[in-house]
Symmetry: C2
Subunit: 272 residues, 2 copies
DNA sequence: GGGTATTTGTCCGTATGTATT
DNA sequence: AAATACATACGGACAAATACC
């Protein structure tokens, strides 16, 4: 009896969930019913439910009840692709490159990627952008931002940064709204002779900010994290030519990295 | 007055933290003091602090107080390396391959990797192992498990799986305790002629289980997630020869993926 | 649309337990 | 041993969101 009562109650409910007695989407008994069932006060029941909530096992809906969470069929993105392909990896501004990529879920369905028109701004490079793009902090950069969806559900938020000098040197369409035909990679090669020869993805996980939580409909308490992937693309002189920051919720995204000779992807059903 | 009081109090404290008025590691005023300061009940103050806790901004210590969390200097691991190098990527059983890898933090220090002796078991392949290793579910596999540390702090938990047939065919040392000289990749090449020509990393984020939370000293409420990286290694016939599952806490780990021609790593100080 | 019952959310006060100093 | 500070648990009251008639 070392454990507090609310944890024991949570454990009891957890077993019911993981054994399948309470299936995904199913409603739990109300707090008042559980209060009688376990002989505890309503506040203690609420502590148990709050615990399960932070564990991501249940969610509460005011006026309705408490429900076992549905597991989301995850999106799978391959981070390694042809370094010279327009757009680089699949995650690299596929929208701007006119690619209607398909993402394959573990269950094997093909999915449809859509994206908003790019929202373009001229910004001062903050510390992170300046360091990865190797420009002076505070210098002007072009920012192209998109919201991206798979089958209509919010998938990722992406922002690409380019040095302002690119526009001066002849790549004026970078600051025009609307997609760039054949993508920015080809456009920069054609106009400035900048060939993308490789890129580096820097993968971190952090808590979502308010904008991200809103766009992805994540719980506001920061329980669900987001991947933040910084992709730095390099030209033939090993100089950074683009920084793309993409944010994905961790609860619905997985990534694949292939190295060396690897057979085509097996479609694997994840039954964790 | 749209927001509940505990959220307003949390917001007030959050601003003090993010503005720097309350520095990392610094102690907040006690619940009783805050109760008078904000004119709320102690339970409401506790709700505000609990909210900040799930946001990962503060931590509470019984008998001591509430403190602003320290940001951890993260470990950075490169997932793309020579596919034929013993051990594959840096994350691939470097311990078993006798590599004393160094990890470079954003701040640029070199760090020392240590690891426990492998703990070896014969197990039945569960669904996940069977599918990635492409063996029948329930067939025997060799499991080699290690705890890995950087500078003495827990870094990752790693388990490698090999088909049991490898031992029958002559790779008997796989089931012996202790490190294998020159690593398992070279050992399997020497004994069975299995050359590792590539590998695939499958990156997911999930909540830690009890064992993991204990080893990494993570809060038990599952607030901090863990990376689970499944590395499947392939031999020259494109057959899976090894599955390595590695678990890293997301609060102290970052990953790098290089594609194409990429300059040597810039040491970047992350001042997010 | 309105009203009512149901269910979770917020807030209070109090008492006692447990960990740390 | 004592003081301090957070943790658990109780009970009660009202608010807010939702569903249903």
């Amino acid at each position: 009896m070392a454990n507090p009562m609310y944890r024991q109650i949570a454990e009891s409910l957890r077993e019911q969930i993981e054994s399948g007695a309470l299936g995904p989407g199913q409603q739990l008994r109300t707090e008042l019913e559980l209060r009688e069932q376990y002989g505890a006060s309503r506040n203690t029941i609420r502590d148990a439910i709050k615990w399960l909530t932070t564990l991501g096992l249940v969610e509460t809906k005011p006026g309705q009840g408490t429900f076992v969470v549905q597991k989301i069929d995850p999106f799978v993105t391959t981070l390694t692709a042809d370094p010279k392909r327009p757009g680089g990896a699949e995650i690299a501004v596929p929208g701007e490159d006119g690619y209607g990529e398909v993402d394959r879920s573990p269950a094997g369905q093909k999915r449809k990627l859509t994206y908003s028109d790019p929202q373009i701004e001229i910004q001062k490079a903050d510390g992170k952008v300046a360091e990865h793009l190797r420009v002076a902090e505070g210098s002007s950069v072009i920012s192209r931002h998109q919201r991206r969806y798979i089958d209509g559900t919010p998938w990722s938020l992406q922002t690409s940064f380019y040095p302002m000098g690119f526009v001066v040197r002849g790549a004026g369409r970078l600051i025009e709204a609307g997609d760039i035909r054949d993508g920015t990679v080809k456009y920069l090669a054609d106009t400035l002779g900048l060939r993308q020869v490789g890129y580096r993805n820097w993968i971190t996980v952090r808590s979502p900010d308010m904008t991200e939580a809103g766009f992805f409909s994540l719980p506001q308490d920061g329980r669900v994290g987001v991947f933040e992937i910084l992709e730095t693309a390099f030209d033939q002189t090993a100089t950074p030519m683009r920084l793309t920051v993409t944010v994905f919720p961790t609860d619905r995204n997985q990534f694949i990295v292939n190295v060396g000779e690897v057979p085509a992807e097996q479609l694997i059903t994840d039954n964790t």
